[in-house]
């Protein structure tokens, strides 16, 4: 639609763009500037060209952070989206009253992340922790682990907490989508002898495929931006086993006092993320299947 006057669109977009420019845009540019300097945050800035970037390429911890981030994304796709989908399937089975279950599974989404992180740190702890004492109580002490202290289990342990929080969220989204599946379709199938299992996999699931894509997108972008849980539970340890990109950025700036280097790491990450976004946009344009019903 043509705007009613030349400047009204800018008036409408203006505030949003201004805020955004100040909060994201200018800082991004400033970060690019800083990435070519050496700065501790308090001393004088020194221009050092691309040294930060060459250092970043050889930084094994930085590489590990990318690996961990992608592992985490994969884990949460399963633990949040897939589990959420399964839960949605369960709570939408015909004839079962599931309201209170739906309410319960969604509760963690409403909790403060800080509370969850502290709580689960205790649950996972080796002494006085719920999990380990439970295992001992049922006679399976051999399964005890120092969940957050063992590099082999730490990342998984944090991912499980993520799943605990967000599976209910994806359940809610999928459930709402499932509710839109025409009941007549389900009835007809049921009368033809389809089991709940068949109904789920052959009818409901394909129809909510569009929603799956949205969910996956939300999950992936959310995982990239994850920070609070990791910072409070493990701070990236033990021995960088749970170091993700965001925690490494923060520790480079605040523990190592290397703002310039941290900025370079941020710039690289920005390029990667934008690249992935572009790749996704291009990929989507080709196989655009919108399921509307």
């Amino acid at each position: 639609m043509r705007p009613s006057s030349r400047w009204t669109p800018y008036l409408l977009v203006g505030p949003a763009v201004l805020f955004f420019a100040f909060v994201v845009g200018l800082p991004l540019l400033g970060t690019i500037w800083m990435s070519f300097t050496k700065w501790s945050g308090t001393n004088r800035m020194r221009f050092i060209g691309i040294d930060n970037f060459t250092r970043a390429i050889h930084d094994t911890v930085y590489q590990r952070a990318y690996l961990n981030t992608f592992l985490y994304i994969a884990a949460t796709l399963v633990l949040e989206v897939a589990v959420g989908f399964a839960l949605a399937g369960l709570v939408s089975i015909q004839g079962k009253r599931t309201l209170w279950y739906r309410i319960t599974f969604f509760i963690p989404v409403m909790l403060l992340m800080v509370v969850i992180a502290v709580l689960w740190s205790f649950i996972y702890s080796d002494d006085g922790g719920l999990i380990n004492s439970f295992l001992t109580g049922i006679g399976r002490s051999d399964l005890r682990r120092v969940w957050l202290g063992d590099p082999g289990t730490a990342l998984l342990a944090v991912s499980v907490v993520s799943g605990w929080i967000y599976a209910g969220f994806y359940m809610a989204i999928f459930y709402a989508a499932l509710q839109r599946v025409p009941k007549s379709l389900l009835e007809a199938a049921r009368l033809d002898g389809a089991s709940e299992w068949d109904l789920f996999f052959k009818i409901k699931a394909p129809l909510v495929r569009g929603m799956t894509e949205v969910a996956a997108l939300l999950c992936i972008t959310g995982a990239f931006q994850s920070f609070d849980l990791f910072y409070v539970m493990t701070k990236g340890g033990p021995d960088h086993a749970t170091e993700i990109i965001t925690t490494y950025l923060v520790s480079t700036v605040f523990v190592d006092h290397e703002v310039g280097y941290g900025a370079a790491l941020s710039v690289i990450m920005t390029v990667v993320v934008v690249g992935l976004g572009l790749f996704y946009a291009r990929f989507r344009r080709e196989g655009d299947v919108d399921v509307e019903y």
Binding site: A21, G25, L26, P27, L29, G30, I32, W33, M34, K38, W39, S40, G41, T42, N43, R44, M45, D51, R55, H58, D59, T60, V61, Y124, S125, D126, D127, V146, W147, L148, G149, D150, P151, T234, K235, G237, P238, D239, F254, V255, D256, H257
Partner: protein
């Protein structure tokens, strides 16, 4: 159309320029360090990391005393969570608009950085003046003076690590504090056999075991070689260093230390020790402060690092002093030094000593009902033939790798050689600053 493109380009250039200017302007600290001692009421800010409830409470009393003594002045005490303060907190405060006038810092490299960055005021005249007469031995200022100028007032002397033990557990098992490392291992073995956790430590933030590793390194290599290794003048993975770390591996392999060591925060380890869940803990002199609050009736003792084979001084003590600095950018420098004088006065010293701190003033425990452990540790520190500085007070970045290696070894993840090789590799990749 053309205009949209060039509009974007121009905006882009302007934006980068603005951003760049805005940021370069902040590297330089403001150069107006005026000192308005008169002119109306004002507030001074005193910032530090938390040292436990007891000691934090003393500052509340000092605030009241200061405000009573100097009407028109108020004090704002800013106490942050300790690890936050030492990493994000202090630098954040200093570069913000509400920068502190007085703040806690450690002498040596950290102080030097603050001086270089322009955050430490030259207070030589103040400390030689009436407020501080006779309060400090000149040796207390070591590490706090640069080029003959004083930048810091001493506060507490901490022993960074000794091995504390639960007297009841030891007596019940017929044990006495060990003098050599082999005796120490024997004690651990006996405790383990009795089903008691010999040693507990909470190494989530890496400095507890890192401090122990620092001490082990000095005992093995000698103080000079140890410091050189941390400063990067010598490699960190030398045979002597590996030998030092072997001792950590012994503890890990034999199960003498809690398996959760790398996941446990240090204060939770303290709690476990004070609850009697473990026989020993390796931590510093501030344990007394926690013990007074949490477990006042618990009988604890300590022993210094047992003797080890190596070329270091086997009677050395791992310790740091701490102090307070006046911000060079403060507008109330003399008001700040007045507060520091109050903190160093006999009344304040008495309060700090009773709270479990070891003040660095002359004869800190005179007329004070201080905990015997505190007094004993103070003597240990002051009479130590060699004072060893923990690595993170020598070089933060290299210490980070060093502590990381120690954590890997104590967690049974890497062998000493592997861990130190990895650390050395990363240290070599650090830019020469």
């Amino acid at each position: 159309m053309r205009s949209a493109r060039s509009f974007t380009r121009v905006t882009g250039v302007v934006a980068v320029a603005i951003a760049g200017l805005a940021l370069t302007a902040c590297g330089t600290s403001s150069d107006t360090s005026n000192d308005s001692t008169s002119s109306g009421p004002f507030t001074i800010r005193v910032a530090m990391g938390s040292t436990g409830e007891a000691v934090d409470g003393v500052f509340t009393k000092l605030k009241a005393a200061y405000e009573a003594k100097y009407p028109g002045r108020t004090v704002e005490i800013v106490i942050q969570e300790n690890d936050t303060y030492e990493t994000i907190g202090l630098n954040n405060l200093l570069t913000s608009r509400n920068a502190p006038d007085v703040y806690f810092e450690r002498p040596g490299t950290r102080l030097a950085t603050k001086v270089d960055d322009g955050y430490a005021a030259d207070i030589t005249d103040a400390v030689n003046g009436p407020g501080f007469t006779g309060r400090f031995d000149p040796a207390a200022y070591s590490g706090m003076q640069i080029d003959g100028k004083t930048y810091m007032v001493p506060w507490s002397g901490d022993v960074t690590n000794v091995f504390w033990f639960n007297k009841a557990i030891f007596t019940a098992n017929g044990l006495t504090p060990p003098a050599t490392w082999d005796e120490f291992l024997a004690v651990c073995s006996k405790l383990k056999a009795a089903g008691i956790t010999p040693l507990v430590d909470g190494n989530k933030d890496k400095w507890p075991i890192g401090s122990i590793a620092s001490h082990l390194a000095e005992r093995s290599l000698g103080n000079d070689a140890y410091v050189a290794a941390i400063k990067g003048e010598q490699p960190m993975n030398s045979a002597g260093m590996v030998a030092a770390f072997d001792n950590l591996q012994t503890l890990a392999d034999n199960g003498y230390i809690n398996k959760s060591v790398n996941a446990l925060p240090d204060d939770q380890a303290t709690t476990q020790f004070l609850l009697g869940k473990a026989a020993m803990i390796g931590i510093g002199s501030w344990l007394v402060s926690d013990q007074i609050t949490q477990a006042p009736t618990l009988q604890i003792g300590y022993f210094n690092m047992p003797t080890l084979p190596g070329s270091g001084d086997q009677k050395s003590v791992l310790g740091v002093s701490t102090g307070f600095v006046v911000n060079a950018n403060s507008e109330h420098i003399s008001a700040g030094t007045d507060f520091l004088a109050l903190m160093s006065a006999p009344e304040a010293t008495k309060l700090f000593a009773e709270a479990g701190l070891t003040p660095m003033t002359v004869d800190p425990f005179a007329g004070v009902k201080a905990d015997p452990n505190t007094v004993s540790l103070a003597t240990l520190l002051s009479s130590a033939p060699t004072k060893v500085t923990p690595a993170d007070n020598i070089d933060v970045k290299r210490a980070d790798e060093f502590y990381g290696a120690a954590a890997a070894v104590i967690g049974g993840l890497k062998s000493p050689q592997e861990a130190l090789d990895a650390a050395q590799k990363r240290v070599e990749a650090l830019p020469k600053s």
